[in-house]
Symmetry: none
DNA sequence: ATTACTGTTAGTACCAAGTCATAAAATTGT
DNA sequence: ACAATTTTATGACTTGGTACTAACAGTAAT
């Protein structure tokens, strides 16, 4: 079955995404063309060589062709989510989350809630916090319910800015600007290179 | 400093566990021995070659068990504490602290470690984080040990400034300036610089 | 028909990061 | 001092490539 070049390249891309640990030789066999053809194809598609692909998977950057962050991994409960726009989660401060002495919620829980919400709102398989500027404006005590609201505010030199504000009732208790690294550019054209 | 063989091999093992993506050449440099010695060592310790190590890391992510993570009292272990001066804690990044998909430690754990250390170093019953300026400078992967070092840097309008830097090996992975609220004034006045 | 272009194949030289085997040199133990 | 251990050197071979050059077949254009 003679495939066209475009067709073969489409399939090649798929194949490599499926099983990244495949040598050019195996690919050549699979597509019944020469190794050189495979290499030309890879070059045209700017698909890196096997070792680079493996390294890529190993180091992360990867994080895969798969979906977004599973919502179970978000601290707190996501009650509203509009990818790349905004998200809301709630976290009930129960006894495990407070200092035993004064029943005040430990800061890192509020941070964790906000941070994981910032990760979740990013429409990308891999979102990591590069930088954050945060403020705890009021103590939160046991029994209170914290509502975190995240807003994506745009990009700044490759990082996505997410603003998260957390409230108990209508009192702000926490706010933070998160600078999020993401592996791919925002949706749309996915013609991006990998240059390192 | 002449190390014994056994000692070198012990360190070698550690080093490779820490940073698996290191070539024999780099290792030879690091330990100031020849490449061949490194290779003999690896053989004796049956440590596979670089590419195999990379592949191992890469494939491990593939067949992964996903699990949810509760944020417990997992803020690291304080190993050195000089109240109102400095403190050190270590946190081993085990499987519960990472994103299931890519084995990268979730940011809030690093934050939690640093933040709780900042709380601990304050000589007061009540210390709360008012503000924080933090930066994640390198991803931390499962199995790595994060050493957080906190330095009290003085006061600024009622808030105590604590500088926390976290390292894996000698690589900085996190840094943050914490502005801590405290109920009582500090007892002793002390300002010290940190040089890095 | 000649020319130009595309797509494919082939072959060479080279590289990184190893392996394996073998030998010589240096260090250490006694 | 001498043997044993440890380290270094050396060369040949392996994998999975890159980079480049050349050649050939088929199709299209003039």
């Amino acid at each position: 079955m003679k495939r066209t070049k475009a067709e073969r390249q489409r399939l090649l891309k798929e194949k490599i995404e499926e099983t990244p640990f495949i040598t050019d030789e195996q690919l050549a066999n699979f597509f019944a063309v020469s190794i050189q053809t495979i290499r030309l194809d890879r070059m045209e598609l700017s698909i890196p060589e096997l070792r680079e692909r493996i390294k890529y998977v190993a180091t992360n950057q990867w994080n895969e062709t798969v979906k977004a962050l599973p919502l179970e991994e978000v601290i707190g409960e996501v009650i509203d989510l509009e990818l790349d726009r905004r998200a809301i989660s709630i976290l009930d401060i129960h006894s495990d989350l407070v200092f035993s002495r004064n029943k005040i919620a430990r800061g890192h829980h509020l941070f964790a809630q906000a941070n994981s919400l910032a990760v979740a709102v990013i429409n990308d398989e891999l979102a990591l916090t590069a930088k954050a500027d945060i403020k705890f404006t009021r103590q939160v005590k046991e029994g209170e319910r914290v509502v975190a609201k995240a807003f994506v505010e745009g990009n700044q030199k490759g990082l996505t800015i997410v603003n998260v504000k957390s409230y108990v009732g209508n009192e702000k208790v926490f706010s933070g600007i998160f600078h999020m690294y993401r592996s791919n550019e925002e949706k749309g054209e996915d013609n991006h290179e990998i240059s390192n």
